[in-house]
Amino acid sequence: MVEIDPTEYEIAELGPKIKDIDDADELREMLDLEEGGEDRVPVKTLIEDRIEKVEDEGDGEVDPETVDLASLTVADVANMVRDIDDAEVLRDLLEREQDGEDRKTAKSQIESRIESVEGSDEEAGEVEYVPPEEKYPELDHPTNDKQWVEGTVGAEYRDMWVYCETQAGDLVDVSKEMLGKARDLMDTYNADYDEEERVVAVLIGDDASDHVDDVIAYGADLVIYHEDDRLERFRHQPYTEIFCDMARAGGDLAAEGREEVDWKDYHEPRYTVFPATNNGRDLSALVQGELDSGLASDCSGLYIENAMISNPAKVGTAGDKKEFERVLHMKRPDFSGFEYSTILCIDKPNRDFHPQGASVIPGSFEIPDPDFEREAEVVDYEMELDDDWFQVEVEEFDRLSGGVDLTGNDVVVAVGRGIGDDPTKGIELALDLVDAFDEADLGLSRGVITSSYSFDGHVEQYVTEERQIGESGQEVEPDVYIAAGISGAIQHKVGCDESDTIIAVNTDPDADIRDFSDYLIEGDLFEVLPRLTEAVEAGDLGAVMGEVSDD
C-alpha cells in the first residue's frame, strides 16, 4: 500500500514528498496509480526519475562475488572495487571481466585496485637522492638553496586549518560555510583513518577575539587567534607572516622560540582552506608559497580519499604507480566553465608539498546550524610583528554602496556567448529590452565575462563580473528570466533556476538550456531581442499586439 496517492496532489507538492521515498516498489505502485488516474506526463517523469535514482543507489550494495560485470558501467566497476580489500575477490572479478566484456578500462580499474590492496611489491621504491650540484653541474646556484624552497622531507602534518575571514566586524558567510564543510570532512576523515585530527580556525585582526565563540559554534575544535590594532585592515605581509608563524609553531621542526607550544605537536597543517575572496585568495597564495606547497583556487567541491598516482614527477620513476593516502581532492570549475578539474597537491620524492591548500568559492557549501554548546580549545597566539611588514599602508577605506544587485527585479535579461558576432550590439540590444521593462536589469553568462571580446566604451561598463549569473556569480529568481544566446551550462542553471518563467533565445533548438527553460525561441538574438523590445513597448501602449493577459 502506498502512502501517497499521486493523483491527489499537484506536481509542485509531489516533488518534495517523493524525495523521501526510497522504495522502488512503492514508487512503481504510485506510477500505476498515476497512469490509471490523471496520467500527467510530468508527474510520471518525476516518479520515474525517482525510481531510477533509488535503484542507482542500490548499486552500491552489489555483491562483487556474484555480480554480472556486463551489467555494470566502467564507472560502476570503479566505484565497486574501491570498497573491496580482498585481492582474491578482485582477481576473480578480473578473470570474469576478461572472460566477459573484456573492457580495457574496467580491467585497469580492477588491476590498480589489486595493486593498491597488495601494496609494496610493485610500488615505487625509495628514490635515491642525488644532490643537485651533482645532477646539474652546469648550474652554479642550486635552486633548493633559494629562500623560497622550504625543503622539508617526510615531516608530520595533521589537522585541517581554516582561515576565517572577517569584514567590518563580522565573520563573512564563507568562513562559516568552510567551517561546516571542514567539520564534515574531518568527521569522515577521522572515522575512515581512525584518527583524531581537528578543525582548526585561524582568526587574525584587530577584533579577532570577538569571533572566537562563533567559529567554535560553526565547527572548530581549536581556535588560534592573533589580535593587534595594526591589523584593522587586511595587509598581505603581516597576515601571511602570522598565519605561517602559527602553522610552523611546535613539532620537531619548530622555528626558534616556537618550540614550546602545547596545542600542536606536528610540523605544519595537513590541509589549509581559505575563502576565494579577493583578500582570502591572495592570502592562500602567499601562505602556500611561504610554506612551499601548492593549492587549488576557487573550488566548489572538496573530498578526502586515497589516490593512485602514476605521474613520474610524484612517484620518482616513469612507469611506477604509488598510492598516496588522505589526499584532499579539490574540484573546481575550469576553462571558463566548460570543465571541472580535480586538483591534487602531492608530495614528491625529497620534497614535501604540505599543507594541501584550497580556496573555496563563497556559497559553495551550506552554512551549518551553529551549536553554541560546542567546546573547543582557544589559543591567544602571541608574536611580535615586524614594522617592515607594514610597508603598504591603508590610508582610507569606503564601503561601496550596492554595487550591482540583480536580485529583486521583475525581469532579468541575460546574454551569453551568442552575442559573439557583434558583442557591443548584443549588449545594446539586451539593454534596450531591459529598458522596456519597469523593474529589470542585465545579467551575463560566465562565458561573456571570460571571453576576449572587445566592447565599445559605452557598453564596456556593463561587462563586469558583478553581473555574472551562475555558480560563481549571482543567483537570481525574477518572475521572468530571459536567456539570450546562452547555451546552458549547469553552473548557469544554478543562477537562474528559481525564476518563475525562463525564456531562452537560441539559434539551436536543442541547446542544453532547453532542459531548464519554459520557452525556447528558436532564432537569432540579434533579430529576436529587437522584436521583443518593440512588442513589449507596444504592448504597454495596449494596441499593437492585441490582447494582453493580466496574470
Partner: protein, 284 residues
Amino acid sequence: MRTVVLTKGVPDFREGQVSFDEEGHLERGKTPTVMNPNDKHALRAAFQTKVRNGGQVSLMSMGPPGYEEVLQEGMRDVYADDLYLLSDREMGAADTWATAMTVASGIQKLDEEPDLVFAGFKTADGETGHTGPQTCWCLDWPIITHVLSLDIDEEERTVRAKRLVDGDISEIETVEAPMPCFIVADPEFEPTYRRASHRLKHKDLREETKERAEDYEDHLTVWDHTDLNLDPDYIGLDGSPTIVAGVDPIPKAPSEREATVIDAGADEGMEQVLDELTPYAAGD
C-alpha cells in the same frame, strides 16, 4: 622608471573557437592562443605608467615558442620597449608556484631591478590569480592587488592605489606603498590621463611602437632554465606541488523544465511569450 608587465597566452574561448574531443574534453591544441584577456588590465595599468611617467617597459611571459606572437600583440598594446620569453621544455606544465619561481628568476635576471611589476588577475584557462602574489613573494616586495586606479610619485618613490575588497560587502581602500612594488590590476582598472600632454604623448608612442612591433624579434630575449640558473627539479611539472588528477566535462543540467520551442518567425508562439512579458512593461 623601469616597469615589467607579466602576461600569458591562453586558449581563445570565444564561441566557435573552442574545440572539444569526443569525450567532451577541451582540445587545447586545436584552440587558438590569444593574450589572457585579464592581462589587458595589467597592460592598461602599465601603459598608463608609460604615458604619465615614461621610462622603459618590458613585457615578460613564460610559455612555448608560439607565445612570441602573444608578446608581439602585447608590445603593440602596451608600447613595450622590449620582450622577454622564458621558454624551455623543462618549464612546461608548471602550476602557479613553479611558474612564480621561474618568473621571479626572470625578473631578477634583468640588468636593472624594476621599479614596478604589473600582473593581471586571473587567466581565462583555469589558472588562478596566484601567480602574481606568489611571484611577488619570491621577490620579497610589497604588493598591492585588485588595483582599480594608480598614481606614482617618482620623487617620493611611492605608489598610491585604490583597491577593491570583496566579501559580504564591497569596499575600496586607498593604500600607499614604497617602490619597488608589485601591482596586480583588477579587471575594473581605469587608467586616467588628466593632461593634454599625456594625450599627445600617447599618440607619439603609438606611432613609435607600431614600427618596433614589426621587427619584434629584434627586441625579444629568450631565456631557458640554464640562463635563469634554475634546477629542472624545481620548475615545470617536476617542481609543481599540484597535479590535475582528472578533468570532467561539466555535466548537463538535469532536465526539470521542458521548453516549448517557438519559431521566432511565427506570431502564434511569440504571442504566448509576450503574454509572459507584458505585465512587466515599463509604464509612462
